[in-house]
């Protein structure tokens, strides 16, 4: 029988939303293929993460707890994931299309001689059986693809799926005797320089405020984007141009080559809306463009366009939002 192995993503002992969106994709696929679902948790000191995932309808939660898995390095994690998949008989291995999933999962596919569909946004029926829908050409077109090998590897785009809810019940937790073989990987973790922020992360935020090159400098970006994000409890994003010009950290970038978001509300402030940027936000529920112009590509996807200089519009907008909040 078919079995889907979902790779858990976690940080600081907590399950990440990316795990649950992948699980949602897996449930949709399981309904079409008649599969059961297992979960794999890799890392060092991850018993708590495994425990936290026992109520989501998986038959088994496999735990590969090993000091050499502390960092998610592609060769070691790739090997252990493939080993777990083989030992539990999974024919589909699924992970999030986060930078971690993108880095590791092709190595799993190569080990298992599996075909791989990246960054899928849907599970579809095709004339050749269940397949996946995925954006190509920066989302200009959507492709339905099928995988012709017996084993499939897939990464799921977080913004395209809901976070799977708990189903009750209790999965078996099984320790997996992992052999990461770190020395053979010829890979040494040196450092991680994390972006620190108390704001919601881009994949979890209901509202995203994103700034672009029109904000002119790091000071301009901070002066405009931060107060609006604070007023709304929003996450902060940016165009590539704003990141390239050093206005904000790299992991703020939204788009074809950055993060893909689909919040309830997206503010594009001083962003023109190049196709590569739209690729990362055009599925937001409501889009607001704040721009000095009204004829930019962003205006064609925005539900509401406010024409004006961000440096004067945003302070006033923040004041009025504060007044609405105060009035309750």
């Amino acid at each position: 029988m078919s079995k889907i192995l979902v790779i858990a993503e976690h940080a600081d002992g907590a399950v990440k939303k990316a795990t649950l969106t992948t699980l949602d994709m897996a449930r949709q696929l399981a309904a079409k293929k008649g599969s059961s679902i297992d979960i794999a948790v890799l890392g060092s000191g991850v018993g708590g993460v495994a425990e936290a995932l026992t109520g989501y309808g998986a038959e088994t939660v496999h735990v590969a707890d090993h000091a050499e898995l502390a960092n998610a390095l592609a060769p070691t994690w790739g090997k252990v994931i493939a080993d777990i998949a083989e030992s539990c008989g999974a024919d589909v291995i699924a992970a999030s299309a986060s930078t971690t999933g993108k880095d590791i999962m092709p190595r799993v596919a190569a080990r298992l001689e599996a075909g791989m569909a990246s960054d899928v946004v849907g599970v579809v029926d095709t004339d050749d059986g269940p397949g996946f829908r995925r954006p190509m050409w920066a989302g200009a077109l959507l492709a339905d693809v099928v995988i012709d090998t017996d084993t499939w590897v897939v990464t799921a785009r977080g913004s395209a799926f809901d976070a799977a809810g708990a189903t009750g019940g209790s999965s078996a937790v099984e320790a997996f005797d992992a052999e990461p073989n770190l020395a053979a990987s010829r890979t040494r973790f040196v450092s991680f320089n994390g972006t620190k922020s108390d704001r919601p992360t881009l994949d979890e935020a209901d509202i995203v405020v994103a700034g672009g090159r029109g904000l002119k400098s790091a000071e301009g970006f901070a002066q405009v984007v931060e107060p609006l994000a604070d007023a709304l409890g929003a996450g902060i994003g940016a165009s590539r141009a704003a990141v390239d010009d050093g206005f904000c950290p790299n992991d703020y970038q939204i788009g074809q080559t950055g993060k893909v978001v689909a919040p309830q509300l997206y503010f594009a402030v001083a962003i023109s809306g190049a196709i590569q940027h739209l690729a990362g936000m055009k599925n937001s529920k409501v889009i607001v463009a704040i721009n000095t112009r009204d004829d930019e590509p962003i205006n064609k996807v925005a539900d509401y366009s406010l024409v004006g200089d961000a440096f004067t519009v945003i302070p006033e907008l923040c004041e009025k939002i504060a007044a609405i909040k105060a009035a309750g």
Binding site: A110, R111, M116, A138, D144, V190, V286, E316
Partner: protein, 250 residues
Amino acid sequence: MKILVTAKRVTDPNAKLVIDDDGSWIDDDVEFILNPFCENAVECALELAEAHDAETVAIGIGDEEVQRYIRQGALARGVDRGIHVDAEEQELDSDLIAKILKAVVEREEPDVVLLGKQAVDGDSNQVAQLLAEMLGWPQATFASDVKIEGSEAIVTREVDGGLETLAVTLPAIISADLRLNDPRYASLAGIMKAKKKPLEELELDDLDLDDEEPKVRVVKLHEPAGRSAGVVVADIDELLNKLTTEARVL
């Protein structure tokens, strides 16, 4: 030292794409460019070669047209020589590209293979990682900084949540992100020289692949649902009114 770098041809991102009659591919009568990420990879290869006195070799896989992009995109910028593997692009998937690259790596024995993190047509982001596993080599993907120190490459990577730095022992696979560098322009002299640089042509048959079948197939392309046109609001009050009462997102 020897560096192998990729030159992939992609449709111009500004081109209007039309789905062809059988529905599973695009009409390829459009403009093409060198994959932007390959431009970063080529630049990185040239900078490393300048610092470490390395030979550079560019490889492109696809139909005859790809040779133009190898010459203009890589050789004209300064890469020493090229290799073109002739293949029908539509019948390639990332797995088969990686297998072809593996065969070329085994012939050329480079110390570093530099690729783009993704091809901006398929947006798969797989080939570098597949190749690394097939060769049993370490990888450093999504690179925004690359240095070679002794037998290691020290690579800073753009990942969710920040920047990660890895040290990988050569030979290794590196995939370039866009902030790795600013690709140089080809000089006129470079363009002239490129015409005479060696460009080896290989057929798939020359590579003795154990399998030439793609594993993933596009069965159908669609246009995504468009968004209906919105409105220009008169002022902040109207915007807030719409957001609270019409869209109900505030």
